[in-house]
């Protein structure tokens, strides 16, 4: 018993010593990348969601509560993307600093304007997010704005490092904005593509390309045969590409592609868990390349 107590206390002491800088928890890999870019190399960032999982569907696991228990700041995508698990995990973490409305809770979607906001809050249209499309992570321009806001938040929490945070955000924002004209120029002339879920919308808007359809009949519902028939009829004779993530079932996209004579491209929604800005820009490159290939 005495040994157990000693172990518990030494673990607690270790955790206390390690927390010299801001302890940041990010919900997704993109948010983790942003936190590291803004916070600098010294910042300790834990990412909750594996990049190859659907961020809507996760469960509030004890390990998430564990990570949130000691965090100073949680960086979430927001707009109800993590609705199913983040509130439950924060609740289970018993860490009042992270409650929405406090400085320790940062939502990316709250910092920028959202697409599709104000649509009918009617689940006849699937698992809709009436506050707007939460998938802002594929928009480098919005991510730049989010980086600047995140720097201000981190500066509030650790004023001594404010200059570092602002410089980090500026560096990311400049790098992102500098690449935008190139991506736009490459993608120009692409016929656009079909998405599985409404998660590439911001990038398509930035590139000025049309979204020709969605493999899901409504958000959160797997494709049905009749929906794929309708899509085929609508898109017959057009050109394009079908984009989906590795975790989304490939059957629907492949069936549609074979009927239309198109190609499918498996593109990730998130970079690796430990990604830096370069890896994030590569992710955008992958999407742009898939759309460029659709020019035929």
């Amino acid at each position: 018993m005495r040994i157990l107590i000693a172990v518990v206390f030494s673990l607690a002491a270790q955790a206390a010593w390690a927390a010299s800088a801001l302890n940041v928890v990010a919900t997704t890999a993109s948010m983790g990348m942003l936190a590291r870019e803004v916070g600098g190399a010294a910042m300790q960032v834990t990412v909750l969601a594996a990049p190859d999982r659907d961020p809507h569907m996760l469960q509030a696991k004890p390990s998430m509560m564990r990570a949130l228990r000691d965090a100073d700041l949680v960086v979430a995508v927001g707009a109800e993307l993590e609705m199913g698990w983040l509130p439950a995990a924060i609740n289970g973490a018993a860490n009042p600093r992270l409650l929405p409305g406090r400085d320790g809770y940062f939502e990316a979607a709250a910092q920028v304007s959202l697409l599709d906001s104000g649509q009918a809050a009617d689940r006849a249209h699937g698992d809709v997010h009436p506050t707007g499309n939460p998938h802002v992570n594929l928009d480098p321009v919005r991510m730049a704005a989010i980086a600047r806001a995140l720097a201000e938040r981190m500066a509030k929490l650790e004023p001594a490092q404010a200059a570092t945070f602002r410089a980090g955000a500026q560096r990311f924002a400049a790098a992102a904005e500098q690449r935008v004209p190139g991506w736009q120029a490459q993608a120009a002339g692409s016929p656009g593509g079909v998405l599985f879920h409404k998660d590439g919308n911001y990038l398509f808007a930035l590139l000025g390309l049309p979204i020709l359809g969605y493999v899901e009949p409504v958000p959160g519902v797997p494709p049905s045969a009749s929906h794929l028939n309708n899509l085929t009829a609508k898109l017959k004779g057009q050109r394009g590409v079908i984009l989906h993530h590795a975790y989304q079932p490939a059957q629907g996209p492949q069936l549609l592609a074979s009927r239309l004579g198109w190609k499918t491209a498996v593109v990730p929604l998130e970079p690796a868990k430990d990604a830096d800005a370069a890896a994030y820009f590569q992710l955008i490159d992958t999407w742009v390349a898939a759309l460029v290939a659709a020019k035929g």
Binding site: P62, M65, R66, D70, W85, G220, P249
Partner: protein, 476 residues
């Protein structure tokens, strides 16, 4: 570029005459002046162009130094989040509808003490509307959240399933809950029926904790200490100990048997039931999760009145009182596969529960000599279930549950009584149409002992569930 040439031409035109009349030195001076002016203009022009270009970058956002607090949500401001859960089943069994009642008469130490005011179990063959759950929750203030969970049965009766507050702002990983709530003991106890992977409660919970599990009025203190990468939750609860199968006080001997006072002791002041629980979960990465837990509960006062005159008019009434002890162990493993809509996900959960009621005879209708003799009731139970996502939005669940591996009454001054163990196999297939709707087909086959006789009870359920309103939490 075109504008720049134009500018140069215009400047050149401004000096033509003086250039003709002037000496070489003057020409050189003028040229230097001209070059200087041109350079200034060019620099100024380029700076303006750059400014314009930078403005053309799609700046979605204000560049002021601000960050917005809070969450973007569709929650309706100050109004509570509301959700309603509809639950209906088509039911049939091989006992002409008697299968549900057979579940309630399983041989064991609690079989004759049904304190439930209403039952999840009252199903008839055919279509049934089960309890409709209505859940309200909101933040009260910076310091409290509150939740109300009402269950409306098909006859219109309303019961407060849960009504509690939670603290928001306690430091050091502490959380206090107060009101009426499902206890934090065990893995399944705090789960509402709409989050179960099966239509009905497992036999171990049903017989040892009651159909709803352990639910009482009191306070719960939870603590999430700093334990490195190991998740730890420690909790203790002080509960009233009302109307539990193992903790019930204030029972009275019927007036026609014992008029007036006497027999059983008056109710002790609460809290009469204390629980403690611990849950641990190591960090096993993104794919795996494991939670281990243990709990114990102690009821300071428990009373039972055994009155079987309804079934047998010659039966004698007796009353017992004493205390009760329970403990349990739980293990939950989850595998999170990368597939969409839960494909490939696996959950394994197992629990063991043990209960002892240490009572003594406090009243006996025709044998006062028995008063004071001990009666030690012991029973245990367990379940093991596996749920696997075999296709997107499809789950298959298999459950084995058993109660009464130990199932006996040790009687002072009389022979001990032993009961058989009852067990069951259950298969359930769940189709989640969306996050908010499901259909479930469940078949089970049980060996239930009633009065020493073995009954094979086969049950069949077809269940639908719909939830509207606030998006539910994906709890572990």
């Amino acid at each position: 570029m075109f504008e720049r040439n134009l500018l140069a031409a215009a400047l050149a035109c401004a000096f033509p005459l003086s250039a003709f009349a002037a000496s070489d030195a003057e020409v050189a001076a003028l040229r230097a002046e001209f070059d200087q002016k041109l350079k200034t203009l060019q620099a100024d022009y380029e700076m303006r162009m750059k400014q314009m270009e930078s403005r053309m970058v799609p700046a979605a956002e204000p560049t002021s130094r601000t960050d917005k607090l809070g969450a973007v949500g569709s929650g309706s401001s100050f109004n509570p989040q509301i959700s309603v859960i509809f639950d209906g089943v088509y039911y049939n069994d091989n006992k002409k509808g008697g299968g549900i009642e057979a579940m309630e008469h399983i041989d064991g130490i609690n079989h004759s003490h049904d304190h439930e005011g209403h039952g999840h179990g009252e199903l008839e063959r055919g279509f049934n509307l089960r309890e409709t759950e209505i859940i309200f929750s909101a933040t009260v203030s910076p310091y409290f959240d509150a939740t109300l969970n009402l269950a409306v049965d098909s006859g219109g009766g309303v019961e407060i399933e849960e009504a509690y507050f939670d603290t928001r702002a306690l430091p050091a990983g502490l959380k206090l809950r107060g009101g009426r709530f499902l206890s934090g003991v065990g893995y399944l106890n705090s789960q509402h029926p709409h989050t179960w992977d099966f239509v009905d409660q497992n036999l171990a919970y049903r017989t040892l904790l009651g159909d709803h599990g352990l639910k009482d009025t009191g306070v719960q203190l939870g603590w999430t200490p700093k334990t490195g990468s190991l998740y730890t939750l420690l909790g203790v609860e002080l509960l009233q100990g009302n109307e539990q199968v193992f903790a019930s006080a204030g029972e009275v001997i019927p007036d026609d048997v014992l008029p007036g006072e006497g027999g059983l002791k008056p109710k002790y002041a609460g809290p009469r039931l204390i629980t403690a629980f611990a849950k641990f979960s190591p960090d096993l990465g993104d794919d795996h999760a494991l939670q281990l837990g243990a709990w114990a509960a102690r009821g300071r006062q428990h009373q039972e009145v055994h009155d079987h005159r309804d079934e047998n008019p010659a039966a004698k009434v007796n009353g017992l009182e004493g205390d009760a002890t329970l403990w349990g162990l739980e293990a939950v493993y989850k595998f999170d596969a990368p597939g969409a809509y839960g494909e490939g996900d696996l959950t394994l959960a197992a629990e063991y529960l043990w209960q002892r009621k240490d009572l003594a005879v406090a009243f006996h209708q025709d044998n006062p000599a028995a008063i004071g003799l001990g009666r030690k009731f012991t029973q245990d139970g367990a379940y093991l279930h596996a749920v696997y996502g075999f296709a997107p939005n499809w789950q298959a669940g298999l459950r084995y549950d058993i109660t009464g591996m130990t199932n006996k009454v040790e009687r002072q001054g009389a022979a001990d009584v032993g009961y058989e163990a009852s067990d069951r196999w259950t298969l359930a297939v769940t189709r989640r149409l969306t996050e908010f709707s499901l259909l479930r087909l469940q078949a089970s086959s049980a060996n239930l002992y009633e009065d020493g006789d073995k009954n094979r009870v086969n049950q069949f359920f077809l269940q639908y569930q719909h939830s509207l309103g606030a998006h539910g939490a994906h709890k572990f």
